[in-house]
């Protein structure tokens, strides 16, 4: 079927479709969350799901959507402006790469503009695709919030990070990369060392079952303190110029050691693929 033959329709969520909407979110985000989470976000004061939730239909099928939350913001001189928060943009797996996300995003911006919002906000993770996709729809980075962490159980925290990293977007040039990670935690009164091995498969970071000790078998080996590792990965995803001074400083302070194969260097320079 040609795209020109398709009929695309934008509508609002209808009363009674709440359960189906939650199912769609869980299907597309795999998973999104519980009924309690849905209620927390979708049963709020001054929020009407039948006016704020946009649905994109493709040939009569529910293909995607998004949600707008409206807020009142106060400027530094306490002047009031209406703003909106864009969130929960999703596309059904059968309808991906057809521009459904673009339609939903543009519809949300139009809806917000008609309802008097002067500015829209979005809060994507730097490791996920929306942080890369949203600038195409006029979004600009305005604030870089920080997350404070106190690690009490390093192994469990690392497990959580790996789970998050497995959902992150990885550039195609890292396909096949074999990575060895040695992470140091400086906990109050004691230190902790953790070792993990990975391979990039189909754009995702997959944990290897056995921790092979032979460094030569890895394309990249990183020895780093946890805060250095997280700082560098954030700079890499944000494409910040601070990455190089940060790397240099960490090297000089001996808080970061990196070993890489010739193959890895070639792939970074775009000369070949990692096999």
């Amino acid at each position: 079927m040609k795209f020109s033959d398709t009929k695309r329709k934008i509508r609002n969520l209808r009363p009674g479709e709440e359960e189906e909407h939650l199912e769609m979110l869980n299907l597309c985000f795999d998973p999104w969350g519980s009924v309690e989470k849905w209620k927390k976000l979708y049963v709020q004061p001054n929020f009407d799901a039948s006016k704020n939730v946009v649905i994109v239909e493709e040939n009569g099928e529910w293909a995607g959507g998004g949600t707008a939350w409206f807020r009142e913001a106060l400027t530094k001189t306490s002047k009031k402006i209406k703003v909106y928060l864009a969130g929960d943009l999703y596309v059904h797996p059968f309808h991906r790469r057809k521009g459904i996300y673009s339609t939903a995003m543009r519809s949300l911006n139009d809806l917000a503009r008609k309802r008097g919002a002067a500015i829209g906000f979005a809060f994507p993770s730097i490791y996920r695709t929306p942080s890369i996709a949203l600038p195409k729809y006029g979004f600009a980075r305005v604030f870089h919030p920080t997350t404070r962490i106190l690690v009490l159980n390093p192994e469990k925290f690392l497990q959580y990070l790996i789970h998050q990293a497995q959902e992150a977007y990885l550039p195609r040039k890292f396909e096949g990369l074999r990575l060895k990670l040695v992470v140091y935690f400086n906990l109050t009164g004691r230190g902790h060392k953790a070792l993990r091995t990975f391979q990039v498969k189909k754009g995702k970071l997959c944990e290897s079952a056995s921790a092979v000790q032979d460094t030569k078998k890895f394309d990249l080996t990183i020895d780093a303190d946890i805060d250095i590792l997280l700082g560098i990965s954030a700079c890499f995803y944000l494409k910040q110029k601070a990455l190089f001074p940060k790397l240099l400083l960490a090297f000089l302070r001996r808080r970061l050691k990196v070993r890489f194969s010739l193959n890895f260097l070639r792939s970074i320079l775009g000369l070949c693929k990692i096999d």
């Binding site: 807020r71 906000f121 730097i126 997280l230």
Partner: protein
Amino acid sequence: MGKFRFNLSRDLWAAHYISEKELDASNIIKIVRDGVLRGFAVYSILNYDAIKACGILDLCADGKDVLVELIDKIIEKAVNSGVDFIFLRECEEPYDDAFDAKGFFYFMESVILAVLLNPRELLLALSERIHHGKVLKFVVEGFDPILVKVGKKGIRVIEGERSDLKVLTDSKTFLRLFFGQTSVLKEFLRGRITIDRIFSLSTLVRFFSIIKQRRWYIPSGDWT
């Protein structure tokens, strides 16, 4: 000077964090001295499969000593609950060293993006009753031109007057200037903002210094 912040009504605060009925529940810590509430923290214990995390949702203290006491109490509660890590997403706040001293480290995991939908509405909201100043014809690509009078301490959106200078920019540059992430001079040199009368650049600099919102607060409950 205040900061750009979301106006959190009582019912929205309750929806985000905790209802008034549950204010004495175990997931709120309050510091009361001489019968006066000096600070509070709302936290939530979250389970990610076999991992237990303590998320500090809202934290408010009227001094560093109160903040330190709150952090100590949160750590104590988290340890007693068998939590694996404690996290807090923070806006630009003072007393950051209080967290460092307790062994917290920081990293970036999210970014706040903004899109300009209606510059006229935005500038109208920021308008003051000023009568004297240069008139700037402000053009943000993709939007209708706006006439703005730039006074010494305020701006005003006006109609039907002759402009003294014309400024052209794009919406992303406007937002970065509005939220204080860049400077007029830098963007002018990069060619992202143009002005027809170079000698009036100081008017443009003043315009952005008046409307600039450098400090900010967005409640973590709104980070959808």
